[in-house]
């Protein structure tokens, strides 16, 4: 819990600051707190949050997945193709895409587990490979549903009305379900316990009779599957995917969200709640900038600076706490 205190405080500070700064004294309205804005924000948190959980799945095993953005691209290109060009019904198309992305994860896992290739190398190649293949597959044409597929797009753009003009965006609900299931898996099941043991010390876990290979496979499959799910939501949301840049850099956002949320890159450490907070922060910051600043030129700089400051403050506070409460039983 102490691990996520820092990020929780940081998030709170940013949220309050944005609410104060974006307040329009003239009209008395507050764009940040408007139902419309919160709804959009929740939608993005849902979409990117799923990606961060995907990243966290592999990171807790001590691995890394750099191909997340390219898997998003695969989902973003294949789903419209199935729906629009092949006319596959949505109920079949989405599971097909998820199956395909899960297969990608399986492939990563097999390369890592059987051939003992470094996860960084395998997924870096994946990053290049899948995007390249999608460029050839789409012939560099933009993929979208056009004006068809209104029904299935509800998954990404729909809301469950809560009254007062505010509706819970479906992607947020999907994210909450994914987060809850993941948290249950990690904390309450044998698989979760074994996953974390493997991440902390793969050799000791193996010596303890844990089926490390199968678990690692599982982590990669879960990661790519969730990336595929998020990819579906993204393309259903924006309705436009260009293979050369759809999902570009999303692996970094995903990993940043997870790491910000206290998931340790050396493996064996992480809380789903932390990942959720990290993902929130990653989405609130650009929203802040868009609502407060005159342009979004400084967006990257601000996001980078805030994450760094957050990490630094977190570390400093933790040390200070450790110094104040030493040893004694």
């Amino acid at each position: 819990m102490k691990k996520i205190l820092g990020i929780a405080v940081l998030l709170l500070v940013v949220v309050i600051a944005t609410a104060v700064l974006s307040h329009d004294a003239v009209s008395g309205t507050n764009p940040f707190l408007s139902a419309y804005n919160l709804q959009n924000l929740c939608k993005r948190i849902g979409e990117f949050g799923i990606l961060s959980i995907a990243a966290a799945f592999v990171i807790v095993t001590g691995g890394i997945d750099l191909s997340i953005g390219s898997v998003v691209c695969v989902a973003g290109c294949i789903l419209p193709w199935l729906l629009r060009d092949l006319g596959v019904p949505a109920l079949l198309a989405v599971p097909t895409v998820l199956l395909l992305t899960a297969a990608i994860g399986l492939w990563h896992g097999l390369l890592v587990v059987r051939l003992r290739l470094q996860p960084f190398v395998v997924t870096l190649c994946g990053l290049l490979l899948y995007r390249g293949l999608m460029r050839a597959f789409t012939g560099d044409q933009t993929m979208g549903l056009g004006t068809t597929g209104e029904g299935v797009r509800w998954l990404a753009t729909g809301t469950l009305p809560l009254g007062d003009g505010f509706g819970l965006p479906v992607p947020l609900l999907v994210f909450v379900v994914v987060a809850a299931l993941t948290s249950f898996l990690w904390r309450r099941t044998v698989i979760g316990r074994h996953l974390f043991a493997l991440g902390s010390n793969r050799e000791a876990a193996r010596f303890a009779g844990v089926a490390t290979d199968r678990l690692e496979l599982l982590a990669y499959v879960a990661c790519s599957l969730l990336a595929g799910l998020a990819g579906c939501l993204f393309v259903l949301d924006v309705n436009s995917a260009q293979a050369s840049n759809f999902g570009n850099f999303y692996e970094l956002y995903a990993i940043a969200g997870a790491v910000l949320g206290g998931v340790a890159l050396r493996g064996g450490e992480g809380l789903v709640l932390g990942v959720v907070l990290g993902a929130c922060l990653m989405q609130v910051l650009p929203n802040t900038i868009n609502l407060v600043a005159g342009s979004n030129q400084l967006e990257f700089a601000v996001v980078g600076a805030v994450i760094l400051a957050g990490a630094a403050v977190d570390e400093i506070v933790r040390r200070w706490l450790a110094r104040r409460r030493p040893g004694k039983a």
């Binding site: 764009p31 560099d140 868009n290």
Partner: protein, 319 residues
């Protein structure tokens, strides 16, 4: 195979990967077929000047007989372009490099297209109002030209293609106010997100312009989802299917289209015919006057969208 090898090779080089260039590729390939040449179409995958330079160098190494390129950074690429011109036939398209030794430029003037767009906005919003611009990136000449054209036209300024207003400059006049220029760095999710945020921030927006091909549909989506189609007008550039459908449905006020198919077609045709003409004087006669082949931007709105769309579908072979 043997015949293909014997056909002279020319190259058509874009400045990034985009649907726009996929259409241009069709034009280039059509022309190559007609002229009996082989065309290599190359696109810098992440759209950087360095990538484009590598591609051009490798094309020279490969021994192509002519190159048509949309230079990523005309002001600074003079040396490379001259080096190419010294080794092979060079034309520019889409974006010109007037100071270089290129033989001709095939395309339009982005600043002029911007002003055309501005006119369209003024007609649609006679009383003016707050406007937001969405552009992929501001560090490309075409993006800057278009944006400046729109701003200058809306504020009623004189024609000056060299002017540049900073991204966060406060700009208003003539009843219009440019509230912000947002960039999305080619990420559609980000593009949609910033427009959503802008709609949330300002309740009084009168219009939003998407300056790159994939952007008007994102703007349309965002405005539609905010249920503000009645108060926020959508303008755009280029001929994305959804943009055109939006015009048909009356949801998009209009778009400014370039003619990428013609860029490709005319570039390759010109290169091929230059190659086939041994005589120097006759060659010179093939070049357009002033070295500029104008493929003007066209304004597409409710009145002409059907005809334009049908023609486009036929040319690109898409349904």
């Amino acid at each position: 195979k043997g015949a293909a090898a014997a056909r002279p090779k020319v190259a058509f080089v874009s400045n990034c990967v985009a649907e726009f260039w996929a259409i241009a590729q069709r034009g280039a390939e059509a022309a190559a077929k007609e002229q009996g040449v082989e065309v290599l179409v190359k696109m810098p995958p992440t759209g950087t000047a360095a990538e484009q330079q590598s591609i051009l160098e490798d094309l020279l190494a490969k021994g192509v007989r002519g190159i048509a390129v949309s230079p990523k950074d005309p002001a600074n690429m003079g040396g490379l372009l001259d080096q190419i011109a010294a080794r092979t036939l060079l034309v520019t398209h889409d974006s010109d490099a007037p100071a270089s030794k290129r033989l001709a430029y095939i395309g339009m003037r982005n600043y002029d297209a911007g002003r055309l767009c501005g006119q369209m906005i003024r007609e649609a919003l006679p009383k003016g109002g707050p406007i937001v611009l969405l552009v992929a990136t501001l560090d490309q000449d075409n993006a800057r030209g278009r944006r400046q054209g729109i701003i200058d036209e809306l504020l009623g300024r004189s024609v000056d293609a060299a002017r540049f207003d900073a991204q966060d400059a406060a700009l208003s006049g003539n009843g219009f106010e440019i509230r912000a220029t947002y960039t999305d760095q080619f990420d559609p999710q980000k593009g949609k997100a910033v427009i959503e945020d802008a709609l949330g921030r300002w309740q009084d927006l009168a219009g939003v312009v998407g300056l790159f091909e994939y952007e008007p549909p994102l703007v349309l989506e965002a405005v539609k989802a905010a249920k503000r189609l009645d108060r926020v007008k959508v303008f755009g550039f280029d001929e994305n299917d959804q943009t055109l459908q939006g015009i048909v449905d009356g949801e998009v006020a209009g778009t400014l289209v370039q003619n990428p198919y013609e860029y490709g077609y005319q570039s390759v045709t010109l290169l091929a015919r230059l190659l086939q003409t041994p005589d120097e004087a006759q060659r010179r006669a093939l070049l357009p006057a002033g070295g500029f082949m104008d493929i003007p931007a066209r304004r597409i709105d409710k009145s002409n969208v059907r005809a334009f769309w049908d023609d486009l579908k036929q040319k690109t072979g898409r349904k």
